[in-house]
Symmetry: C2
C-alpha cells in the first residue's frame, strides 16, 4: 500500500519530546514573568474574517497571509497578536479595565519564503499594556523591564536592551528639512547590516546632500553612557516638538529602567523597528556574545491601535519574543543544549502484573510528593524493561518484585551515578 | 470612517481575562496530571498537507475540514490530535521510545454547523500511550486512571467512568449471526437518547427479528456491580473469539482500575464510541448530577494507528477531554462560576512618580515571595487609581506615599474585608 509522506511542511517546527520539554520550559518562564508582573492572559482565535486582519496590513503581510476556504466569509489565519488584540479590545472595551496589561502567547502564521531559521508557524510571546486614551510613558519602561526579567531568568548569557524613540528620530530628520523621512528611516533601520560606504550610497540614492548625510550618520552613531548620549542630544538644541517630546520620553524611560535595576539598557539611535507602526519608544534585544543572531525581543509604543475598529482611542506599548525562531537559534548556537534526560523523575518497573497494585500505591506516594512517575506496564522480560529505562533516559528507577512488595523496602536507583537510596531518602531530598 | 466588525466568528470562543484564568487553570490541571503520570508533551503543527489529514477520514470530517489556499500544496487545519500524532510517530519512530506516553493539548478545527455549545475552534486535551506492535492492556486502565485523577482534582462533583469493550460487543453481535454489525452498533450508540420503542423501531428498520432485538436490548441493559455484570457476561457462554478476548480485556481493565483506587468505573454495555476507530476498550465520563451534559471525557483502544503512513504497526489507547465544550457546559450549568477577582495578588498604588522607585523595590520583594504584583503607573488622581483597584477586583492594595517611602512602613489592604496588615505579615501568611 502506498504510504503518505509524513514529513512536516517546510517552515513548521516539529520537536522530539525532550526538545519540546526545553521549548515549553522557556515558554513557561515567559508566561510566569508576565503573570508575576500583573499581566492577564488572553487566548484569542486563530481564524478571523480577512477584513479584520487586513484592516491595517499591507504589502508583504497581505501576500503572506494564509487564507481559508470555508462558507461565505473570507477567512484567514492571524499573522500576529496585535491585530486580534486590537479587535478584542474594540469589541470588549466596556468589560475590560484600563490600563489593560495583557499576556498573549500563541501561534501565528506567515507564508514567508522558506529558509533556515524562518518559520511559517511560530510562537509569539507578547506582553502589552493598553490605555484608553493616554497611556503613561512609565509603561514603556514596564514592558522593557519584563523582558529584562525574562532573560535574566532564562540565563542565556549577557544581553543588551537597545532603546530609542521614533519621535526623536522623526523630529531630528524633520529638523533637517528632509522630504522622505520614511525612506531615510528605512535606510537607518538596515544600517547595521551594511558598510558605511554602502550606507552613504543608499542615502545618496534618496538625493540627500553630503552635508545632510554626514549629520545623519553622526546622529545615529552618537554614543557613550546613557547620560552622555542624553546630554549630546540636548546639546543639539533642536527646536522641533517631536524631537523635544521624544527626548523627554527617552530620558524618562531610561531613568525608570535604571530605577527598576535594569542595568543593561542602552540608548541606541540605530534602532528604528516597524515603520508604519511604532510612534514612540522602540527597543531591541541582543545577546552580547551572539550579535549575529539579531534581536531576540523587540517592541515599542504604538498609537491608534484600534482606529480601524472603534472611534474610541487606545494607545499601547508592547514587548514581543518570537519563541520559535529564538529556540532555533539557541539550539543552532549551542546556547541551549537539549538534555536527552526524560522529564520523568521515577520509573517503576514491576517484575510482573502481580506487582502492579503495589506500584500504583508507590506511584501515588511519589506523585503526592510532587514528582512525576511512570510505570512500565508492558509484559516484557526484565532486561527489555530496563533497556526502556535506559533509552528513555529516566532519572531514577525502582524495580519492584515479590520481595519488595512483601517487605515494603524499595530502593531508588539514580541512573546517572548508580547510587541507591530508600524511597523516603529520595523523596525527602 | 467605516469601522470593521470585530465580533468573533460564530463557533469561536473569546473569553474575558477573568474567564480565561479559570479556563487556563483547568487546562493546567489536565497538563499537570498528564506530566505527573509520565506523559511527555508534544506540540504539533496545526497545518498539514490535506492528504495526511484525509488519509483515514471520510464523510463528515472531510466536509468539516478547513482548507487553506497557499502555494502548490493542498493544505488543511488539523481536526483532531490523532491524525497528526500518527504522522508524527510514523515520521519519528526511530527516535521515540515505546511505549510512548504522550500529552497533546491544543486547538483543533472543525467547520461544524454552528449551534450553542458547539465550537469550530476547540481545545482537545489528549493523553495517549502508543506501543510499537502489541501494547499491554494495562495501559487502557492507565489512561482511564489519568482521567479519574484529573476530575478528582478538578472537583466538579461526582462522576462515573462508563467502560465497555468493542470486541465484546462485536463478538456478541457476530454470535447472533447479524449481517450489519456496524449499523446495529450505530443504533446502540444512540440508544440512550431515544425511547425503548424508538430503539426497537430502529432495529426493525435494519430487518432484525423480534427475537434478536430482544437479545440485543437485554445485552446492552445488563446491569449490577462490575463483578455481577462480568458474571452475567460469562454466563452467556458465547463461543466467539472476539467476545472471549473482549470479556477478558474488560475484566483486566476493571480489575486494574479497582487496584488503582478508581472507585467510580462502571461497566456499561451501551458505550460504543466512534465506529470505524476503536477496537477494544471504550469509555465515556458523565457528571452524576448532570447526565444531560453528555460525556465530559472519552476514548479507548485503537489498532493500526499509523497504517496509512508506515508499514510498522503501532497500537494505542487514549483519553481525551474536549476542553472548550466542557468549559461552556460548566459555565452554563453553574458548575464553575467565574470569579470577577483579578489573578493579581497585590496592586501597588504610588501617589506620584516620586514613589515609583520605591514601588519597584516593593514589587521585587513581592514577586520573590511568589506573588503576582501590578503597579498603577498612570498619572491619575488617587481616587481614579483606587477606582481601578475596585474595577479590576485586585485582592490587595498597597498605597505608597511620601510617608511610606520615608518610614518603610507599608500596609496591605485586603480588598475583600478591608483588613490591614504589614507587608511582612501578608507575605508570611
Amino acid at each position: 500500500m502506498q504510504k503518505v509522506n509524513t514529513a512536516p511542511l517546510s517552515g513548521f517546527m516539529e520537536l522530539l519530546p525532550t526538545d519540546q520539554m526545553v521549548f515549553d520550559q522557556i515558554k513557561q518562564v515567559i508566561s510566569d514573568v508576565h503573570h508575576a508582573n500583573g499581566f492577564l492572559s488572553v487566548d484569542l482565535p486563530l481564524i478571523y474574517r480577512e477584513e479584520i486582519l487586513l484592516a491595517k496590513a499591507g504589502g508583504d503581510t497581505e501576500k503572506q497571509i494564509y487564507q481559508l476556504q470555508k462558507g461565505d466569509n473570507k477567512l484567514a489565519l492571524r499573522f500576529d497578536h496585535t491585530v486580534p488584540l486590537a479587535a478584542y479590545i474594540a469589541e470588549n472595551q466596556n468589560d475590560l479595565v484600563f490600563p489593560f496589561k495583557v499576556s498573549n502567547i500563541g501561534k501565528n502564521y506567515r507564508g514567508e519564503r522558506s529558509q533556515r531559521g524562518r518559520y511559517r508557524e511560530f510562537y509569539q510571546c507578547d506582553c502589552d499594556v493598553i490605555g484608553r486614551g493616554e497611556l503613561s510613558i512609565a509603561y514603556d519602561a514596564e514592558v522593557i523591564g519584563v523582558i529584562y526579567e525574562i532573560y535574566k531568568k532564562l540565563n542565556f548569557g549577557e544581553f543588551t536592551l537597545r532603546v530609542s524613540n521614533r519621535k526623536l528620530l522623526n523630529g531630528f530628520l524633520t529638523s533637517l528639512n528632509l522630504q522622505n523621512i520614511l525612506a531615510v528611516s528605512h535606510v537607518i533601520d538596515g544600517a547595521e547590516k551594511i558598510s558605511e560606504a554602502e550606507l552613504i550610497r543608499q542615502f545618496q540614492l534618496l538625493n540627500i546632500t553630503k552635508e545632510m548625510i554626514a549629520k545623519i550618520v553622526q546622529f545615529i552613531n552618537i554614543s557613550g553612557t546613557n547620560s552622555e548620549v542624553l546630554s549630546k542630544l540636548k546639546a543639539l538644541e533642536i527646536d522641533n516638538a517631536d524631537f523635544v517630546a521624544g527626548l523627554s520620553e527617552l530620558e524618562t524611560v531610561m531613568d525608570l529602567l535604571a530605577k527598576k535595576g535594569v542595568d543593561n539598557a542602552k540608548i541606541d539611535l540605530m534602532i528604528v523597528r516597524g515603520l508604519d507602526y511604532y510612534t514612540g519608544t522602540v527597543y531591541e534585544t541582543i545577546l552580547n556574545d551572539y550579535p549575529e543572531i539579531g534581536s531576540i525581543s523587540s517592541g515599542g509604543r504604538y498609537d491608534n491601535l484600534t482606529d480601524s475598529y472603534t472611534n474610541e482611542r487606545f494607545q499601547g506599548v508592547g514587548a514581543s519574543i518570537g519563541l520559535t525562531r529564538l529556540f532555533y537559534v539557541l539550539q543552532e548556537n549551542g546556547i541551549v543544549t537539549t538534555e536527552r534526560t526524560s522529564p520523568v523523575d521515577v520509573l517503576l518497573v514491576p517484575f510482573s502484573r502481580k506487582q502492579f497494585e503495589y506500584c500504583y500505591i508507590l506511584s501515588d506516594t511519589i506523585k503526592n510528593a510532587g514528582k512525576t512517575v511512570d510505570i512500565f506496564l508492558a509484559d516484557d522480560k526484565l532486561g527489555k524493561k530496563l533497556s526502556y529505562a535506559n533509552k528513555a533516559h529516566v532519572k531514577n528507577v525502582i524495580v519492584v518484585g515479590e520481595n519488595e512488595v512483601e517487605n515494603g523496602n524499595v530502593m531508588v536507583k539514580n541512573m546517572d551515578n548508580g547510587e541507591l537510596s530508600t524511597l523516603d531518602e529520595y523523596l525527602n531530598n
